[in-house]
Symmetry: C2
Subunit: 190 residues, 2 copies
Amino acid sequence: MEPLIQYIDQIVETNDREKNIIRSLFKVESYKKGEFFLQQGLTCRKVGFIIRGLVAYYIENEDSHVYWFGKENEFVCNYESFLTKSSSTKSIKCIEGVDMACISYDSLQILYEEVQNGEKIGRIICERLFVDMSIHITSFYTDTPEERYLKFLDSHPDLIQRIPQYLIASFIKVQPPSLSRIRKRMAKGN
Amino acid sequence: MEPLIQYIDQIVETNDREKNIIRSLFKVESYKKGEFFLQQGLTCRKVGFIIRGLVAYYIENEDSHVYWFGKENEFVCNYESFLTKSSSTKSIKCIEGVDMACISYDSLQILYEEVQNGEKIGRIICERLFVDMSIHITSFYTDTPEERYLKFLDSHPDLIQRIPQYLIASFIKVQPPSLSRIRKRMAKGN
């Protein structure tokens, strides 16, 4: 739980009473590699904060598309489903064993009310997510798959060894053989 | 200014004193068609709330890509640039004459502090933006250009007459002749 307390303390200072409220509202859950945090078709009932491990956000239609990853010190949620209490059109799957501090919708509302700067914490976390998402979306308009791969390497150098190549290919929206060619070209270039 | 007050009142109730604070922190600005709210390379210094008119979010590299639109009762900002005070990698241009209620970064911090539910307002607005953006991004992974066009028609039926076809083509990421073919196929189908 302490990585979450530290993360929040970087946003705003909380006193001991508030830290204890936060500790009491989150519950640590463990998932095995391959387990779902959220399955498409169900409603997302909680927000997780990853203490250890990696998740991938999927959309399953004829194919399976990975459009986002979550790692240590990041929040995990399908907010669209969580906020509107609607069926999720996406899945979130653990691609490593994962320990997460999880909070339900109702407990999150308590946090917003009981922690003096609870709403501020919520706002700033949401702003960070929004900025990350908006950088990702604009790269689809302007970047080639090779550039998207380079940006991925640049922003997630720690993940490249942890994520299977076919998932990275899906994320940058190329077929796995194209990613192999990109990597070969880059290896020759270096 | 009243559409903004009404928009905020749908999120949380504010008292007369707080409404007056909000009115005093926002300033109404008018832009002509073709004018920039924000130019690539400059820092985004304000958030706007559109009272009348339409804007398009652009990225200019070799080509010009439109990746988002903003209309009445929506907030306009490049949050990445606004929050980090960095140069904007995007432009926001008025594609109609626009009246906007605008607030600076410093005034927004005052709003967060002086309005009792200011942080809550900020959080909920950000959540709505995030959900819209995340729906848009996932459509790139799963939808054909035709499906993206249909979703655009579905979610913005009021905009289809107001936005030039070449900008809609850019938004759904096809060349204008492809959009013409999509529209012809749809007209035959109906």
